[in-house]
Structures are given as C-alpha cells and as structure tokens.
Amino acid sequence: MAKPVVKKEYTLSERIYLWEILKGMKLTWGHFWFNFKACWRPGPHTIPTCWQYPEDRTREISPIFRGEHMLQKDDKGREMCIACGMCAKICPAKCITIKKAKRKEGEEDKYAGKTYPAAFEVDLLRCIFCGFCQDVCPKEAIVLGQEYEFARYTKEECLLDKRKLLLNYRRAKEEGKLRPPRKRVPVVPAPPKPEKAEGAEAKEGKAAAVGKAKKKPVAKKKVAEKEE
C-alpha cells in the first residue's frame, strides 16, 4: 500500500550530524560531572536520584503504604478484630481465612468484641495488596502496614497467621510506623426530608436500581448547592 511519507526538511545543523551530537554530548557531560562530584560524598546515598537499597533506607515510605498486613489492638491492648468476615468477603484474591469464635467469660481484656477470630490467616502469595480489606473493616482491625520486604524462604512462611499478624502490629508500634487512623471520605449528603421515604427504602436493602433514578438528580443538586 502506498504510504504517505512527507519528507521532513532537515535544517543544516541537523544535516551535518556533528553539531547536534556535540550538543548531546555536552548534556551528558553535564550529568556525568554532576554525578561524578556527588560520588565522592561519604555514605551510601551519594547520587541524589538513587537509593542504595539495603544500606540506604532513608527514602520515606508513605504512612498509608499498602504493605504487609497486621492486626491492630486497641489502646487497652485488646484485639480489635470481631471476625465479621467482611475482609474475607471483599478480598478479590480470596486470600483471607477467618475462623470465628465467641468470647468467653474473663476474656474481656483480651478481645474487644464479643466475637474474635480463632484463626486469621492471610496468604501473602495470593494477596494483591489492593487494600480493600482495610477499607471495609468496620473496626479498623486489619490494616496494611509499611513493611514491604516480602522475601521468604518457604511457602509456609508466606502464610501469615494470627500470631504473625499481631507480631507485625507490635513491631510497627515499636518502630512508630502505625498507620494513621482512617479518614472518612465525605459522601454526598443524604437526600433532604421529602425524599426520606425513598432513602429509607433504599436502606432496606432495595437494589440500587430504583433508588438511583430518584437519587441521582438529588445528588447533583446537592453538589451544586455545595458549590454555591
């Protein structure tokens, strides 16, 4: 097939190779010289753009980094998880397994809720670190921490059981790397009074299908009001 090739006109400086080549070499020399000077600085983090990873851990990790999981305890040292199973349900990779147990008498200082997980397993080999579990958790019990070194020797070690999850929490607490409390995302406010019946209906578990038709214009209006 005929291919339309419009020849671009080369300027003189482009036509003789050397001029642009020399300009490029000047640029690379600039980088070389800058980094060459930086090389002589002591310490592992010499070149500003590169972290020498195992030695140089000065790069700041975001406090909300989605790293290794942990199970949080509340300020009284009680486990917060109530084994509701929301995280296991929402997990797209199905990597969480929970066994629910009822809190017995005299265990109030150990578990915060009336139920607690007898077993809580997170399969790191399956996890895709989407963070849905911590989003959905009603008690902010399971969170993803800042730990990002996942190399293990055996497959068994990749299975985080409850003990390891709590250990992760303890370590994070000692290192001061706890995740900050979750910020609630502001949601478009509920429809005003006259529409209450509709809202209540929707709350009763009605499918979004019906709610949407009426909710949508309201939501829009609400946003518009906010703007004003």
């Binding site: 097939m1 005929a2 291919k3 339309p4 090739v5 419009v6 020849k7 671009k8 080369y10 300027t11 400086s13 482009e14 036509r15 003789i16 190779y17 642009e20 080549i21 300009k23 490029g24 640029l27 690379t28 980088h31 753009t49 990790i61 975001s62 909300i64 980094f65 989605r66 929402i90 997990c91 797209p92 895709i128 670190f129 989407c130 963070g131 849905f132 989003d135 993803l144 910020k183 995302v185 502001p186 949601v187 478009v188 406010p189 509920a190 929707a202 499918a207 979004a208 299908a209 709610g211 949407k212 038709a213 909710k215 949508k216 939501a219 829009k220 609400k222 946003v223 906010k226 703007e227």
Partner: protein
C-alpha cells in the same frame, strides 16, 4: 497461540529466512512474539502472535463483584493503572446512573494526567532504548518514580494503584500534594527537555524515525487506531475533547496532531501531550483548591453494588488511546459480561501492514512507538 507458527513459503530453504522474534527477545518485552519472514534484513511477511500474557481478565470479571474487579483493571495497562480504574468505574457509574461529585472528578483528572505523563515517559524511554539511546530512558524513568511517589502518598501503592471506588474516589489528595507537584513539574519539564536535546534534532534519531512505518489517516481509522498513534496520522481525535468526561471540557489544552503517522510523529505527539498534561493538572488543581475542604468525594452508592439490568459502553482517553469498558449487568451483584476495549489491541493488529517491507530494525522501532502493553493487549 499456535504452536507451529507460519511455516510459510520458502521456509528457511529458499531465498527467505523465518526469524522468530520473541517472546524472549529484548525488544519484545517478554510478552509478544513476531514471526517474520525475512529477505536478508528486510521483512517480507510479519505475523504477530499474542496471548503470552492472557490471564482471562474478562472471564475473571464475571466471577467477581463490581468492586472486586477494580484491582484487576490495574493489571491491564500496568504502565498507567489509574485510567484503567477510572474507565471501569465510569462504566459502572454510567450503568447505575450515578453522578460523581466534582471534587472527585478533579482528583481523577489530576491522577489520570499524572499517569498519562508516566505512561508516555515509559513509552518514549523504551523507544529510545530500542533504538540504542539508553540515556533518555533513565532521565525519564527517574521522573516517573517521582510521579509514583505522589501515587504512593495518595493511596499507598505505586504501580497497581486500585485508584478510586465506584461513585468517587477513596481518598483526598495528600496535604503535601502541592509541594510535591511544584517540585515535580520543573523536573518533568527538564527531563523532557533533555530527552528532546538528546533525540529530537539528532540526525541519527531523525533518520531512524522519520518515515518509518508511516500510516495514512484513512488507514489508521480503518484499522481502528486511537490515541497518540491516530493523532500522529493527522486526525484530531481526543476523547477528552470530543466526548468530554470528568470535567475535561473545563480545561484548556491543545491536542497535538502529527502529519505522517510515522515513528517520529508518534514520539513528538507524546512529547507534546506530556506538556499539555502538565497544564491540565495545573488547571485542575486550581479548580480543586477552590472547592471547600469537606466537599463530597463519593456519591451515594449502596454498599453492595447491584446495577440494574442493562448494558453500557463507556470509554475514556487513556495514554494509549480509547480505553472502553462494556459492562453488561443482569441485575445481580456480579457483572454479567465485561468487555475491555484495549487501545493497543486495535493498533497492534495493523502491525504487519505497518512494518512489512521495512527492515528488522524498523520493526523494533515501530513496535515501541505503538506502545503495545501486553497486559491490555492480551487481557
């Protein structure tokens, strides 16, 4: 995939040699395969094979709930996960008829444009590497890291962002976003400038790219090209302007258009698009700052998303082109059918036509300039 690809005429015995390029070949990025019938260096017949990264994403979507599919979309175009997420979310929102709050839309715009810059940086960097110029790759990739840093501080992940939720976004911009952005902007510009200095006017680069795998506008439309590859052919088509979504109609930006549709034009179009993206983010952030701090970020959506039965198609301008999601619902909590319209699927099928008759070196250049990402190609 076929296991015995193209035992074509003159199979190694006559004048022609069949060269199997990929899937483990430096220029094929481990996931593509091209069986080429060559006459010396020139390509007589080219047969691209895909499917090496086929993970059954569409099938997987049918077994997950609407929310659970968001992380899966990260893995489509892994160079820029955010437009994938947003495109999918937009499709479901359209199906449900949900209106996303404006502030959430602005955050989406900011993040998507950042992802666009990152994607173009990778594309141009790889194009340079495949044409033998290693250095610009590093200058660009360093800035991409900084962009990833912003992503990390936004919602905790660098590459597979799982950005946003159906009905809005899951987090507000971090407090230090402005500072990071002001730091990033000149650096991105500088990296682009340096790339331009090293490549654009260098005659070796021009010889390698100008006129290579040129494509006419009619052909491009016929083959279903979208995105930078179509614009390089001279068609001014950008979903951000033609079918505005996410408040894109409020921003002023140029859509660069090439002339020949060759590798050079694709490269230049991407270069200019990065600059335009920077401008869009500036405008979007200005609008964002004007919003009240507690403006809603999520529309009211039920916890269990059950869109009404129906089917919609919604597309947006991803860095590669039109990325569309067709979602068909039967009223249950799981999508009935999700079809992903990946931009480079349509582009890559024209690959034989683009490169046949040219040299092996041009095949590599053409492939890189198309920015074929196997994740969304094979799904």
């Amino acid at each position: 995939m076929n296991q015995n690809p193209t035992p074509q005429t003159g199979h190694d015995t006559g004048d022609y040699v069949t060269v199997n390029i990929g899937p483990s070949h430096p220029a094929m990025h481990g996931t593509l395969r091209v069986v080429a019938l060559t006459d010396g260096e020139s390509l007589k017949k080219v047969d691209p094979e895909i499917g090496y990264l086929h993970r059954g994403v569409e099938k997987l979507g049918e077994s997950l709930t609407y929310h659970q599919f968001i992380p899966i979309t990260d893995r489509l175009n892994y160079c820029s996960a955010i437009p994938n997420n947003v495109s999918y979310e937009m499709a479901v929102e359209k199906l449900m008829g949900v209106e996303v709050p404006e502030k959430a839309q602005l955050i989406r715009v900011i993040m998507m444009e950042l992802a666009r810059i990152a994607d173009h940086q990778v594309c141009i960097g790889i194009l340079g590497v495949d044409l033998g110029a290693f250095t610009p790759f590093f200058y660009l990739i360093i800035q991409r890291e900084e962009i990833y840093e912003i992503f990390e501080w936004f919602n905790g992940a660098r590459l597979t962002n799982t950005f946003g939720r159906i009905g809005g976004v899951d987090a507000d911009l971090p407090d230090d976003f402005e500072q990071r952005w002001e730091e990033l902007k000149p650096n991105v510009r500088k990296a682009n400038d340096e790339t331009e200095k090293l490549l654009t006017h260098n005659r070796i680069w021009m010889d390698r790219t100008i006129g290579v795998s040129a494509f006419s506008a009619e052909d491009a439309l016929n083959w279903g090209f979208t995105g930078p590859c179509l614009r390089a052919c001279g068609v001014k088509r950008d979903l951000r302007i033609d079918e505005p979504y996410c408040m894109y109609d409020k921003f002023k930006f140029e859509v660069p258009v090439g002339k020949n549709g060759d590798v050079f034009d694709r490269y230049i179009v991407r270069m200019i698009e990065m600059e335009e993206s920077l401008k869009i983010i500036d405008q979007a952030y200005k609008l964002y700052k004007e919003m009240p701090a507690d403006a809603p970020l999520m529309a009211r959506v039920p916890k269990v998303i059950k869109p009404p039965a129906g089917e919609v198609y919604s597309a947006l301008e991803s860095p590669n082109g039109e990325l569309g999601f067709f979602v068909k619902s039967d009223g249950s909590a799981k999508p009935y059918r999700i079809r992903i319209r990946p931009p480079c699927f349509m582009i890559y099928q024209a690959f034989p036509e683009l490169v046949e008759g040219e040299l092996i070196a041009d095949l590599v250049a053409c492939l890189s300039s198309l920015n074929v990402i196997a994740g969304e190609l094979d799904r």
